[in-house]
């Protein structure tokens, strides 16, 4: 059991090393190696989750050094869940993107896969680690690889979008690093649990306050909380399909995880909600983020951009839920990390299929898509319902907890924002459905029984459809089992 935390990260890391080598020897081998690495990693993540559920928190000490001196991986139910999520999404995306990688980065598929694996390693590390500085380093590995991947995208806009992302990403990471520095000044430790025990006695220290605020700002920049979101829409919409599909669901969600981890493990609920009086302000900020993200999404004419702004709005859900200051809201946030990752993934998988078949996903290019790509649109519809929050898809159930949390905290404006956001999302997606469902309006000639040509099906390849189908069905399954997830994974964390 003890080897799984290592295997989890080492498997993709080694795979990255080998793919890096095989780029020069036999590029075709890179892909199977990567899949193998991710398979092992996913299996380990699964084993870890099972172990954590049965035996409690796992500590893995690197090179046998005991914390607080050494770096440890500390895995409880929360990050075990996120780890499994990351590995599965990365694995499924790798399978689904086999064709798009060849199309979009034809002569560099090997290098691309190497970076991709390193990106996953970074995400896994950020999630698993129990050390504040280690988190920073892995965060930067994640960011660096995502800069590189996004830069490979759209020939005209990709590099520029990526460069802007670099600037903001560096600022975010630096703020976090500064925060860690102040924590270190005050506590002399970098281990999360250690820091937590030390600062529990110094709640009135200004240094801790500064450290907390700096860490939060850093994390918010990285997760694109409005108004620090400006980098996100371009970066996500000009990235290659294979990248957008994994960055969009995972990057922001892992940052939310980091925020939650800092809040519940390092600084602690007592400190944040009893000593500081920031909660109301942050919930207001989140409220504005939700509405602003939705409104900006309404203004878009490209599906990818629209989804990117929806992500901005969803970030507001999670930040707001976490800052409501009660267990219900935090439950909603954590559940939404899972749900939002799955539903964003499903949406981007569907969009990837559309791009593969239709070229681009400007709204004008989506006409009659239900006839041409019924399966892809089926998956898309399910994912869209989940974003809107239609039961029994999973999006409904996290919204359920978030709204309840808002009622409990008396933050009615936040509850109202969540409901309004649902309505905005309904408008957004039904606009797409309308474009996809109705054929081009024929001028003047609209008698009731217009002759309907049976649409010619041009579906995406099976290797792209099966993942989409699996993920969109899992939306419903995750939704139906959300009670179980809350009881076994989330609530034990929060008590």
């Amino acid at each position: 059991m003890n080897t799984y935390p290592a295997l989890l990260i080492v498997a993709p890391l080694l795979a990255a090393l080998f793919t890096g080598i095989f780029v020069w020897i036999e590029e075709r081998l890179c892909y199977p190696i990567a899949v193998l690495g991710m398979l092992i990693s996913s299996f380990s993540a699964y084993k870890i989750l099972m172990a954590v559920l049965s035996a409690g928190v796992i500590h893995y000490r690197h090179a046998g050094w005991a914390p607080p001196m050494g770096i440890e991986y500390r895995i409880d139910t929360l990050n075990a869940m996120v780890l499994l999520l990351i590995t599965l999404i990365a694995l499924i995306n790798l399978v689904a993107s086999y064709k798009t990688i060849l199309v979009e980065t034809p002569d560099r598929s090997g290098s691309f896969i190497t970076i991709y694996l390193l990106f996953v390693v970074g995400l896994l590390g950020v999630t698993a680690t129990g050390d504040l500085f280690n988190l920073y380093v892995l965060l930067e590995i994640t960011s660096l690889t995502s800069y590189a991947q996004i830069g490979l995208g759209d020939k005209d806009r990709g590099p520029l979008a990526s460069l802007n992302y670099v600037f903001i990403g560096v600022i975010g990471a630096s703020f976090y690093l500064l925060g860690v520095g102040y924590l270190y000044i005050k506590t002399g430790s970098l281990n999360m649990m250690d820091v937590a025990t030390i600062i529990s006695t110094m709640h009135d220290s200004n240094t801790v306050l500064v450290a907390f605020i700096l860490c939060m700002i850093g994390v918010w920049i990285k997760m694109a909380l409005f108004p620090l979101h400006v980098w996100l829409p371009n970066a996500y919409s000009y990235a290659p399909t294979a990248v957008a599909r994994v960055v969009a669901p995972l990057m922001t969600k892992v940052m939310v995880y980091v925020m939650v981890r800092l809040m519940i493990t390092v600084f602690g609920f007592d400190y944040i909600f009893s000593t500081l009086d920031l909660s109301a302000a942050v919930v207001w900020l989140a409220t504005i983020a939700i509405l602003a993200g939705g409104l900006m999404a309404l203004a878009q004419k490209d599906l990818k951009k629209m989804l990117a702004y929806i992500i901005v709005s969803e970030i507001g859900y999670m930040v707001g839920g976490a800052w409501l200051g009660n267990t219900t809201g935090m439950t909603g946030t954590i559940l939404h990390i899972l749900n939002d990752a799955v539903m964003t993934f499903a949406l981007f998988l569907a969009v990837g299929n559309m791009i593969y078949v239709c070229g681009h996903v400007g709204f004008d290019n989506l006409k009659g898509l239900f006839g041409r790509m019924p399966w892809t649109m089926g998956g898309f519809v399910l994912a869209a319902f989940s974003i809107i929050g239609v039961p029994p898809t999973c999006g409904f159930f996290s919204k359920w907890y978030l709204v309840l949390g808002a009622f409990e905290a008396g933050a009615y404006h936040f509850a109202a924002a969540l409901i309004i956001s649902s309505l905005i999302c309904a408008i957004l997606f039904f606009r797409i459905f309308e474009i996809g469902f109705f054929p081009e309006p024929s001028d003047g000639d609209d008698h009731a029984h217009a002759h309907h040509e049976p649409a010619v099906m041009v579906e995406a390849p099976v290797s792209m459809l099966v993942p989409l189908g699996l993920v969109s069905l899992s939306l419903i399954i995750v939704g139906l089992y959300s009670g179980t997830i809350v009881n076994t994974i989330i609530l034990p964390m929060l008590q």
Binding site: I388, P391, V403, F407, S422, L423, A426, D446, H449, T484
Partner: protein
């Protein structure tokens, strides 16, 4: 109350859902596809029927699926009222399936596989809503039903259905997300449960203003019930093919809306709480306005289906009205109207569709003398109209009778006047159609020329005959419905 744990409610919901992949795979063989539709419909009806004896004995059949949060699970519970609704819906589904074969093939519609598949999904959701054990489950199926009917409403995929579809969704989805969802969550927040119980769930935790706001949010939020001003989706939805209008917009969808309101009044708030806050009269007044205004608008409609739609709006409010009286007779009359109105109104829609298939006529002004060509259809139309007006010998008389008794129980005579006035209006907008049909002169025929029979196809005519006959049968034997409601309400 005795409870039986059984998987039957779940099966009844799942049958039509499971058959959808088969329907899709059989899209090239229409007869096979229709065969499966019937098969699933019949199994569903038999499943529902098999639960009837137990329910009539006062037992409840329960089945719990997933616990979402404490006190809010996806769970089924079959009681009298749910049974009544499910019985009506699943039976009429079989009839409508037959009718839609005649209608869709008669008009050579496109996308028939899509049509039957979403129809199956819609009926699954309807049965699910009928068997819901708590508000969450009800809401889940309510939403599924809203979305499953969108492709049915916009079936023609032309500019007109696009506009109508937009209106349909924005009303239905907008109100359910914007009003019902927060109200439901607030209830859960206050009480920690959403389980229907005849005593209500609040147990004194609610002040009168809060109760008023919540109740109004529910009543308007379940916009499928067509309470004004959230009614205008229903006339818009008439662009759909007639089988959809018949089953969904006279029976399944609209009745789910009303059914939800009934559940909220009887199961969430509880009759006693509302009576003590004196809120019943508020809802009854809102419903009374809808009854009268709906009837008046119906008078001015020339398109037959639109006239039926406004008539439906007004008739749905009878049900809400009856329940809002909060007296045993009022409740009984209101709820029994779910069944009575269903048979009457579906007959009328079937007739409208049959006329359209046979002659291509949509407007009442063009239908003079048509009764001579289509005597069977017009006779059924007459019976259906009697049912909706509430005259004997039709089941509709029965529900109106109880409603009027209910108003007398409350002591508000003016409410009784509303009912009588509305009945007059109903007669005004229905009977001329029948009269002109039989005794008017067709515009294109000479005097004395013998009239040929031009009935629609067999598959169109048989269903409307069946529903018309049942509408009459219900006048003489309404016992099952009444017993179910008495069992369900415990009166």
């Amino acid at each position: 109350m005795e409870q039986i744990i059984s998987i039957k409610p779940l099966l009844a919901v799942l049958v039509s859902l499971c058959v959808i992949p088969i329907l899709v795979s059989a899209s090239k063989q229409p007869n096979v596809r229709e065969g499966w539709t019937f098969c699933a419909g019949t199994i569903k009806f038999i499943l529902v029927l098999s639960m009837l004896p137990a329910v009539l004995q006062g037992k409840q059949i329960v089945f719990s699926l997933f616990e979402i949060a404490p006190g809010a699970a996806l769970a089924f519970r079959v009681d009298g009222i749910g049974m009544l609704f499910a019985l009506v819906a699943s039976f009429l589904y079989i009839i409508t399936s037959m009718y839609s074969i005649g209608y869709m093939r008669g008009l050579d519609e496109h996308g028939q596989t899509r049509f039957v598949s979403f129809f199956a999904l819609a009926i699954s959701a309807t049965i699910g809503a009928a068997f819901s054990s708590n508000l969450l489950t009800l809401y889940v199926f309510y939403e599924i039903l809203s979305l499953a009917t969108y492709p049915l409403v916009t079936h023609h995929q032309d500019a007109k259905s696009r506009v109508s579809g937009r209106r349909y969704l924005s009303f239905i989805l907008g109100t359910s997300i914007g009003l019902v969802l927060p109200a439901m969550l607030y209830c859960y927040h206050v009480t920690g449960t959403l389980e229907f119980s005849t005593a209500g769930i609040f147990a004194g935790q609610l002040s009168k203003p809060a109760a008023t706001v919540l109740l109004l949010m529910f009543v308007f939020g379940f916009a499928k019930a067509g309470i004004m001003p959230f009614h205008s989706w229903l006339p818009a939805a008439m662009v759909a093919p007639t089988p959809v209008s018949a089953l969904l917009h006279a029976v399944a969808v609209v009745k789910v809306g009303v059914f939800s309101i009934v559940r909220v009044i009887t199961g969430i708030f509880g009759v006693e709480l509302l009576a003590s806050f004196n809120l019943g009269i508020v809802i009854a007044s809102i419903a009374a306005v809808t009854i009268l205004v709906g009837s008046c608008i119906a008078l001015s409609q020339d398109e037959l289906k639109r006239r039926l739609a406004f008539s439906t709006i007004s008739q749905l409010s009878y049900i809400v009205f009856g329940v809002a009286l909060l007296t045993p007779k009022g409740l009984l009359g209101g709820i029994v109207h779910i069944g009575m109105h269903a048979f009457g109104k579906i007959t009328l829609f079937f007739c409208a569709g049959a006329i359209y298939v046979a002659t291509g006529k949509k407007y009442i002004s063009q239908m003079d003398g048509l009764g001579k060509k289509m005597p069977i259809t017009y006779t059924a139309l007459f019976i259906g109209a009697l049912g909706v007006i509430g005259l004997p010998p039709s089941g509709g008389f029965f529900s109106k009778w109880y409603l009027i008794l209910g108003t007398l129980e409350t002591g508000h005579q003016i409410l009784m006047l509303v009912l009588l006035l509305s009945s007059f209006l109903n007669a005004f907008y229905f009977l001329p159609i029948v009269y002109k049909g039989f005794f008017g002169t067709p515009p294109d025929t000479q005097e004395g020329e013998p009239v040929k029979m031009e009935e629609a196809s067999f598959c169109c005519v048989v269903p409307l005959v069946i529903t018309a006959i049942i509408s009459i049968v219900l006048f003489f034997w309404p016992d099952v419905f009444v017993d179910l409601i008495k069992v369900g309400l415990g009166i």
